[in-house]
């Protein structure tokens, strides 16, 4: 299982995003989909506006760590925020709503979790 330190802190260079981790950093794909689908568009756009511009810097920072081992707790949370950005972008850039209408209802569309590299 993913380690979670209680403070929700992030690496220093990304400390400005630390207030997001409590609600937006999730280890499982299921939890990220739920968060996206149950948020308002206002919340999703705010997240996208805040995190999106930093994704290239997050990616460059995390590339200093080997993929052969699990990330330390702070870096793991940062990675999860970047994953969540992709999930949020689905709503913001593709659908225009938190969830697309007419799809298979998400409680019937089961996600089987796949581990991250190094685990």
């Amino acid at each position: 299982m993913q380690q979670q330190s209680a403070d929700g802190s992030l690496p220093q260079a990304f400390a400005s995003l630390a207030h997001l981790t409590a609600h937006w950093a999730h280890a499982s794909e299921h939890a990220r989909r739920e968060k996206r689908a149950t948020s308002t568009m206002e919340e999703l756009r705010a997240y996208s506006d805040l995190v999106g511009p930093l994704v290239p810097a997050i990616a460059a920072y995390l590339d200093e760590f080997p993929v052969s081992a699990p990330l330390p707790p702070q870096e793991s949370r940062l990675f999860q925020l970047a994953q969540m950005y992709m999930e949020v972008a689905w709503a913001v850039e593709f659908v225009g709503e938190p969830e697309e209408r007419g799809q298979v209802p998400r409680h019937r569309w089961h996600i089987h979790e796949i581990g991250e590299p190094g685990r």
């Binding site: 990616a59 460059a60 995390l62 993929v67 593709f94 697309e100 089987h112 796949i114 991250e116 590299p117």
Partner: protein
């Protein structure tokens, strides 16, 4: 024929090239008739090799997958032994028939343990422990290992078969469909996404949703309207199997997140940004289709192995009833070499997860419409020739064993 060959693959009329498949309407009875479904169970599914998993899903000794194959009333346990060999068994305790693995569809175990009376099996199926064994008179433990389920592997894919002694080996069964795929580096890819759902539709309604692109502008208006054209190209029929290629639309307008993701990784939509598909990735694009995106490969009757540049994905349709099907979708990618690549890949799985959910959105409403009986026949465009081929193949098999079937 020379004239046909010269025509762009998007403009060809494939029914002209396959006159044996006809152009008339196709009966809907095969989608709604319980009797027809029972014939399919007996003569199609019990004689077919069905995709169960790829060995990359169970890399370590003790990793296992359980398949619930309602179509032949079987629960199948696929497990990697301590010797590294992948085996398949009936998931049935040799004592009084309880399922050995009940809780999960995949996992890891040191030994196989039946919760009813505590019989224990080694990972290679041998019966290892029987509590109070001396109370069984004349009992020979070596004769009560887990019963093997017929399985064979090709390129790491595990296929299962309901017969103890199938008439064809898996590779013979796959035939020429598999030839171009021999070069694809399946062994380099790793599982990256896995989804499933059970839907109230005939299994063929499900397969049909993934063997034409006519629906792209409507069903995929959100996910991929500008990414793909609404025509599949270069339909290939390999005996009962089918293959076809989907090109990228030259008018693709990527979203900002697709452009961002394409900086980090390859993938279905990422490869379309700046048209970076080469069309030359090993094992892909056998017809040199221009603006290549990915190939659809349908192993008859209901397994898909779709390949693109740097990834592949599978669908399994497991029929439960004439109007019920279990659907499993898995995506495999080249493993990320850097965390940035892993961030980019996250979009790949969201894009496929949501796009496939769009595809599945029409299955239950289509089934309801067909079951109303309003349409004895359906009309099919040239682009829906794969549905025609599927009908013809099943009809020919059933006619050869049961006489005339659907009207």
């Amino acid at each position: 024929m020379a004239e046909l060959q010269a025509t762009h693959p998007l403009e060809r009329f494939y029914t002209d090239e396959h006159p044996e498949l006809g152009t008339g309407p196709v009966p809907t009875e095969p989608y709604v008739s319980r009797e027809y479904f029972e014939q399919e169970r007996a003569h199609i599914f019990r004689n077919a090799w069905l995709l169960a998993c790829h060995e990359s899903e169970i890399p370590r000794p003790g990793d296992f997958v359980v398949k619930h194959a309602a179509i032949f009333n079987a629960s199948i346990l696929i497990v990697r032994g301590r010797d590294g060999v992948v085996r398949a068994f009936h998931n049935v305790c040799r004592h009084r028939g309880n399922k050995v693995v009940c809780e999960s569809e995949h996992g890891h175990t040191e030994a196989l343990f039946c919760k009813f009376h505590g019989w224990t099996y080694a990972l290679d199926g041998r019966l290892r422990g029987v509590p109070e064994q001396d109370r069984f008179r004349g009992f020979d433990k070596s004769q009560h290992g887990l019963k093997p389920f017929t399985m064979q592997m090709w390129k790491g894919f595990v296929f299962v078969h309901a017969q103890e002694h199938p008439q064809q080996s898996l590779r013979e069964y796959l035939g020429t469909l598999a030839d171009p795929l021999e070069a694809f580096p399946f062994e380099q890819m790793r599982p990256f996404a896995h989804y499933s759902t059970t839907l109230r539709s005939n299994w063929k309604v499900g397969v049909n949703a993934f063997q034409e692109a006519y629906h792209v502008p409507t069903v995929h208006a959100v996910s991929a309207r500008s990414l793909f054209v609404c025509r599949l190209c270069d339909f290939r029929f390999h005996g009962p199997h089918r293959a076809m290629t989907l090109p990228i639309s030259p008018d693709f307008k990527p979203k900002p997140v697709e452009i961002l993701s394409s900086r980090f990784t390859t993938g279905m939509s990422q490869n379309a940004v700046e048209m970076s598909s080469t069309g030359r990735f090993p094992g892909t694009n056998p017809c040199n289709t221009p603006n290549y995106s990915f190939d659809i490969n349908i192993v008859f009757p209901s397994s898909f192995i779709d390949v693109g540049e740097g990834y592949y994905f599978t669908y399994e349709f497991w029929p439960i009833e004439v109007d019920q099907v279990h659907f499993i979708m898995k995506l495999y990618t080249l493993p990320a070499q850097k965390w940035s690549q892993r961030i980019g890949q996250e979009l790949s799985r969201i894009f496929l997860r949501e796009g496939i959910s769009e595809d599945l959105s029409t299955l239950e409403t289509t089934q309801e419409g067909l079951q109303s009986g309003a349409l004895p026949h359906m009309v099919l465009s040239d682009q829906e020739i794969a549905i025609r081929h599927q009908y013809r193949v099943i009809e020919d098999i059933l006619r050869s064993v049961c006489g005339s079937r659907a009207r």
